[in-house]
């Protein structure tokens, strides 16, 4: 009986009696979820356009942040370093298309998936080789990112919001909106959607697959860069982020592999669910539940709605 009370009643009593803590937890979940959502967004962009399950997206986040910080450490001014990093991400997209995707076109999905593993390993080695493997601090001051926190007296207590997190949420929202417009209104965006629908049909009306792939990998690289900046500002820039980047996978399940709004909503659900679970239910089992909570949410979700919240095509039932 006591166990049931601890599981089903006590957490909600806690939520009711200390709403400030609840709001604080929700906010932290929201911000964490926003970052998961951004990584998932990169996955979705590439999966939509080329059908490649890009495992390297998480590493691209770290790699872009590392390039930015590394260039700055070599004396390049902050905004020039930012521009150079964008150039590096374009170069990466171009190289990946030329060296990896083009020779592997029309191979089974798992082969392409494995190829992105190869990219992952190469980027880890290359990034550490060039910039060193030690954790680095993101250059928040030079990019004019705000510091400190805003504290409200609300909900019968104190809620403190990091200024950086607020900016992260705003920038991420702008970027998602921008991508949405880009996809639906521009010529290239329409070409991207055409490629997503059918490669061969897109080819037959004169859309260059190679060009589209470079563009979409570059877009994913830009998303990775933004994610990397904000993530790096919250913690250090190091390849330890790699495991955290895997959290984007349950987000994909929740949102569906092909849906941009799905990635966002899924990210928020996972982020908030994970924080709430850890804060209110985690102590019951000894803490540390955020290592697997997201995956279990996704697993349970899969049983009821395998195509995700916004997934376009229903995956084949077995």
């Amino acid at each position: 009986m006591h166990v049931l009370y601890l599981i089903f009643i006590d957490p909600f009593v806690q939520m009711g009696t200390a709403p400030d803590l609840l709001v604080q937890t929700l906010w932290e979940g929201l911000v964490g979820g926003m970052l998961y959502a951004l990584i998932a967004l990169g996955f979705v962009l590439i999966f939509k356009a080329s059908g490649v399950f890009n495992f390297a997206q998480g590493i691209m986040v770290v790699f872009s942040a590392l390039t930015l910080v590394g260039l700055y450490a070599h004396g390049v001014p902050a905004f020039l370093a930012l521009a150079l990093t964008v150039a590096v991400m374009y170069l990466l997209a171009f190289t990946v298309e030329r060296v990896v995707l083009r020779p592997l076109v029309n191979q089974p999905d798992i082969i392409l998936f494995m190829a992105t593993f190869g990219i992952t390993y190469f980027l880890i080695g290359f990034g550490e080789f060039v910039f060193g493997g030690d954790p680095k601090v993101m250059i928040t001051d030079d990019l004019y990112l705000p510091k400190g926190s805003i504290t409200y007296k609300a909900f019968g207590g104190i809620v403190s919001l990091q200024r950086l997190d607020i900016v992260a949420v705003v920038v991420a929202s702008i970027m998602v909106a921008g991508l949405g417009v880009f996809f639906s209104k521009t010529r290239i965006g329409r070409a991207l959607r055409a490629v997503a629908d059918s490669h061969s049909a897109a080819l037959s009306v004169g859309i260059s697959l190679e060009q589209i792939w470079v563009i979409v990998w570059f877009a994913a690289g830009l998303v990775a860069l933004v994610t990397g900046i904000f993530w790096g500002a919250r913690s250090d820039v190091s390849f330890a982020l790699e495991v955290i980047a895997l959290k984007a996978l349950p987000v994909l399940i929740l949102g569906g592999f092909t849906s941009i709004p799905g990635a966002i909503v899924g990210g928020l659900i996972i982020g908030i669910g994970e924080k709430l679970g850890e804060f209110y239910w985690g102590p019951l089992v000894g803490g540390g539940t955020d290592a697997w909570f997201a995956y279990v949410i996704a697993l349970v979700f899969l049983l009821f709605r395998p195509q995700g919240l916004f997934g376009e095509q229903i995956i084949e039932r077995v």
């Binding site: 798992i110 082969i111 593993f117 493997g133 349950p250 995956y295 697993l299």
Partner: protein, 358 residues
């Protein structure tokens, strides 16, 4: 010319069903086994046996396990590391509970616990497949890894949270623990790996293997032909996890001599997956070739620069190793998506027609 089956007639059903129907294959296997059982223990030093051969065999076994699931049944799994961990921790608990029982029996028995856990986490495969299933198995990976650190009962409430292998003797010879010689452990690992490889080879050549391959190639067609998907897939998960579990138990008991939970982390799962992709999906031989390449290549890379007179930092070599592995993965996928096992097939064909080109 060297490899020709002409003139070797199959005169009974038994010879038709043989795993190695060709004389040259039988000779080749005998030579390999002779090298493994006699030449390597006699000539190899401690480093070769302990740091190269034992891990190579253990990883090969894990790769075979994953290959049964991913290569033969077509179910992508990223939980290999965790299933190996289940085997290791089960073996550790078994030795604690039954200190008198033969350790080799316990190592093999721990595979059954792993099989059970694997079958439970294989349940989602009934509704989902492909990448969705891979992510579902990630849940197993992270949940089990969490269990290994957060449930103190599993590591006997050790303060170090690590499992340490007790010393066990078998017929008066020390086989586990820090005082066991490398040769003894090598022989045990080799015997288990050879026996289980033989079983796996028979499995995939028989009815069960055909069922798995039918499910892999087209599950709906397989179901129409009367193959029940639920038992078939769960059996694949169970057998695969059994192999991984035994490999994990051997890894801790006969190689490391002690381990923490992070040995069985996600990287272990990925490494095993590389092995079977590079080696060849759906090939027992490929599991060995892939394990050899992925495991031994970094060792070679580590020792090559000093041999060539280059002095590099250990960290730099580590980075170069990462880059090389990445490039090699991409290279092999482009050059031969079917893996190293396919290269061996091509080589056999060349031997068959030599000296003519075709």
């Amino acid at each position: 010319m060297f490899y020709r089956e002409a003139g070797q007639f199959k005169t009974s059903y038994a010879s038709d069903l043989a795993v190695f129907p060709i004389l040259q294959d039988r000779i080749g296997i005998a030579v390999i086994l002779a090298i493994a059982f006699v030449v390597i223990p006699l000539t190899g030093n401690d480093f070769i046996i302990n740091a190269v051969m034992i891990p190579f065999l253990i990883f090969s076994l894990a790769a075979i396990g994953l290959n049964l699931l991913t290569g033969y049944t077509g179910q992508l799994s990223l939980g290999t590391g965790a299933f190996m961990g289940v085997g290791a921790y089960a073996c550790y608990k078994l030795t604690t509970i039954f200190p008198g029982v033969n350790i080799i029996i316990l190592v093999v028995a721990s595979g059954f616990f792993s099989a059970l856990v694997g079958a439970v986490f294989g349940l989602p495969s009934l509704r989902i497949k492909g990448f969705y299933l891979a992510i579902a198995t990630l849940a197993a990976q992270f949940f089990l890894e969490w269990c290994f650190t957060r449930i103190p009962w599993l590591y006997n409430y050790n303060l170090s949270t690590a499992i340490e292998v007790p010393q066990r003797e078998l017929f008066g010879v020390i086989v586990t623990g820090p005082r066991a010689t490398a040769e003894t452990r090598y022989y045990i690992v080799l015997a288990i790996v050879v026996a289980m490889t033989w079983v796996a080879s028979n499995l995939v050549h028989g009815r069960i293997g055909r069922m798995w391959m039918a499910v892999r190639d087209m599950d709906i067609a397989a179901e129409l032909m009367g193959i029940r998907l639920l038992p078939t897939k769960l059996l694949a998960f169970a057998v695969s996890s059994f192999y991984c579990g035994v490999a994990g138990a051997m890894m801790v008991f006969l190689w490391y001599g002690g381990a923490e939970a992070n040995v069985f982390n996600i990287n272990q799962s990925f490494t095993t997956l590389f092995m079977i992709i590079i080696g060849g999906l759906g090939s027992i031989l490929g599991s060995f070739l892939g394990a050899a390449l992925i495991y031994i290549l970094p060792i070679v890379l580590r020792f090559l620069p000093p041999e060539l007179g280059l002095s590099l930092h250990a960290a730099t070599i580590e980075h170069i190793t990462y880059m090389t592995v990445g490039v090699l993965i991409i290279f092999f996928l482009i050059a031969e998506p079917a893996g190293l096992a396919r290269l061996w097939q091509i080589g056999k064909q060349k031997l068959r027609v030599w000296p003519f080109p075709y």
